[in-house]
């Protein structure tokens, strides 16, 4: 990893066909371009199917606050996706704030500090957590976590801090809302980030650690000044992968978020996310405009994930560019 590799020169004067180079190359190119084409096909489908709603509502689809699929005397039909987009961003942000430090801590422990006898079983358990289907997190959230969360956290907080900070205001009726969703999402992305962080830290060459130890650094200084900076890009990548899962999570979010299109300042109040809104209403949409609006929300979600991934790429590129192997 550390030394710069130059791509080996494969042309040895013999016919390229002899080693099957040409078909191999063609095959891999075809497979790689199929993935790219798939992304474009999905984006194109979303773009075309959302055309109807986009011409009717424009940017209101993203920033409008009223979602009403049924036209009545007093309430006109309106498809404002902001409650859903906001819910998606907020719940993913909450999940990230909770999960990232914890997961990096777990990763560091597993890679650097854990006794060898514990490392394999612990790593296995962390990876097992990543393999639990999201519906199980949802069920567990509904039946176990929410009642606990309400009595131990939501109710005391809303009656004390909540009267000053509107984010934590009551009343807590069912306890479903963005905060609970964010906490469960944090649990879901925790193992992803933790196991990737462990893998990334495992790739740090021992020479890095030995150099630090040789100049008399403590364990902490070794990890903080040599190991972590070396693998910064990889850790950011791990966090972004976790964020991607949090943004797109549908099942657990639907079960926990409360599915209400009203925007409330309180994180305890029921809300909705883009993925759960689409999953809930698309199968039985009441009109073609409704369906088109839901696809627009899906398109927005697609855009958000693409944008964030692009941002992550930029961040990694920026970090990679800076000096490796610790700060001076």
């Amino acid at each position: 990893m550390a030394q710069q590799l130059t791509p080996p020169q494969w042309s040895t004067g013999k016919s390229p066909m002899r080693h099957g180079d040409v078909p191999f190359r063609a095959g891999t190119v075809a497979l790689a371009s199929a993935v790219v084409l798939l992304v474009f096909a999905v984006a194109g489908m979303l773009y075309v199917s959302s055309q109807e709603a986009r011409t009717a509502f424009g940017w209101d689809l993203l920033f409008g606050t009223v979602w009403n699929p049924i036209e009545t005397e007093l309430s006109p039909m309106s498809f404002g996706g902001w409650p859903a987009v906001r819910g998606t961003l907020l719940s993913a942000l909450i999940a990230l704030i909770i999960a990232a430090p914890l997961a990096i801590g777990i990763g560091i422990f597993l890679a650097e500090l854990c006794p060898l006898s514990l490392r394999t079983p612990l790593s296995f358990l962390v990876e097992l957590l990543a393999a639990v289907p999201s519906v199980i997190y949802g069920v567990w959230g509904v039946f176990v976590f929410i009642p606990f969360f309400n009595s131990a956290f939501a109710n005391p907080i809303s009656t004390t801090i909540g009267s000053y900070i509107p984010w934590f205001a009551g009343p807590i009726s069912t306890g479903r809302g963005l905060l609970v969703t964010g906490v469960i999402l944090a649990l879901m992305i925790l193992p992803t980030i933790a196991s990737l962080t462990r893998d990334v830290l495992g790739l740090v060459p021992n020479t890095q650690r030995e150099a630090m130890l040789a100049i008399g650094a403590t364990r902490w200084e070794t990890i903080w000044l040599a190991v972590i900076p070396y693998s910064r890009a990889g850790i950011i990548g791990a966090i972004m992968l976790g964020l991607g899962r949090a943004l797109g999570e549908t099942m657990a979010a639907t079960m926990l978020v409360g599915n209400s299109q009203r925007i409330s300042e309180s994180l305890f109040a029921p809300a909705t996310t883009a993925a759960s809104l689409v999953a809930n209403e698309l199968t039985n949409s009441v009109s073609s405009l409704h369906e088109s609006a839901l696809i627009s929300v899906a398109f927005a979600l697609f855009g958000i994930t693409l944008f964030l991934n692009f941002g992550a790429r930029l961040l990694i590129w920026y970090v990679e560019r800076s000096t490796r192997g610790g700060r001076s």
Binding site: G27, T28, I70, F143, M255, N284
Partner: protein, 465 residues
Amino acid sequence: MTATNRTIKAMMLSLALVSALLLAACGSPAAPVAEATKPPEVAAEATAVPEATAVPEATAVPEATATTEPTKAPEATATTAVEATATVEATATMAATATLAATQAATATKVAMTAPTATTAPAVASTEWAPRQLTATLSGSGASFPNPLYQVWISVYSKNVVPGVQLSYSSVGSGQGQKDFIAYLTDFGGTDSAIKSADVASKAPDAIHLPMVLGGVMPMVNIAGIKTSLKFTPETLAGIYLGAITNWTDPRIAKDNEGVAFPDLEITPVYRSDSSGTTSIWTDYLSKVSTDWKAKVGAGSAVSFPAGIGASGNAGVSATVLNTNGAVGYVEVGYALAAGFPLPFVKNAAGNFIKPETANVSSAANGLNISSDPKKLATSITNSAAADAYPIAAFTYVLVRQTTYTDVVKAQALSDYLYWGLTTGQGATVRLGYAPLPEAMRKASMTALMTMRVAGQPVLEAPVK
């Protein structure tokens, strides 16, 4: 270096695997592979059938042929059945595969074999009716509301009644069921709401909505310490869901429930977050009884609820209600019965407080003005005027095509199954929490079913009783 070497090795290995698979798939004409590709062809054929080559004919042929048929002697029908399969063979030649012909030959021999021996041979217009022993694959999709009932019907029918018929129904929601049916992806559809009249005219002009069964929707309540059946008026239900009545101590609720000591507790209305037929019935009812609701929220499978929280599915609503003190949610009666909830009283249009028991749900369809047009059976029956009717009830429909089926055997098998559902099958409804159709509606539904034609020929003739 070792890392790159390893990746190259891995790539080579995967390429080798892929190429091996490719070779196995297309290179060698191995017997198992060839066999494995055959069944999908049959499936493709099954879905491709409604190319509707016979449509213009079907509408042109006079109904006189229908009336001459019933006079034939019962033993003659066996041969007509065989003939029917033969004509299918002829019509299906455009995409006929060897396997299809084989299955049809099997059908023909089966009919020929069973007809002379069985005492209940396919009877035409006699008082004894029994489904014809056909071999067909029928698929449907749609409403989740009647799904438990349809699954029971299907398992009984294809296990004990007509073993040759492969029936499947996937519960994907009324809207999707309508779309699949309109797009000819399914042989029949299931829906709680009628296809919009504009769509009927443009996309499915020959769709018949057959009422199959009735269902009710009821409010279920969780207030710690109160286990009695509560009484609701249309005003209190609309008020709760509009967010106008927010506490159980509200005098409007207390007025109807004398003797019940309500705690000072916030009401949490729970609604279906997924768009569903249950929501359609509930909001249709609230729109009829509350002008406020009609003006602000409206009726539909997914509406913008002004208050409360959403949970997915009947199970989600009932779990949320159970977990939340002071919650009220609306669920299907069958679901609430299975979960052991006390049935509430709801005040109907005649002013009586009625529990959603089977007979009362059925009564909601009494006194209906049934249209004589078989295509216009779909109608809303919420807030029924009948004195003993439970007011929040609705039909659930099966969608069939009146003239655009092209496969005679399929159409026969389907109509037999639906006829069976409207007669014998009604017996299973009560046990599963649905209400059987009242006589008049059941007969109208059967009559509508019998207007089905393939190439101008009626596919089912059976007594309407």
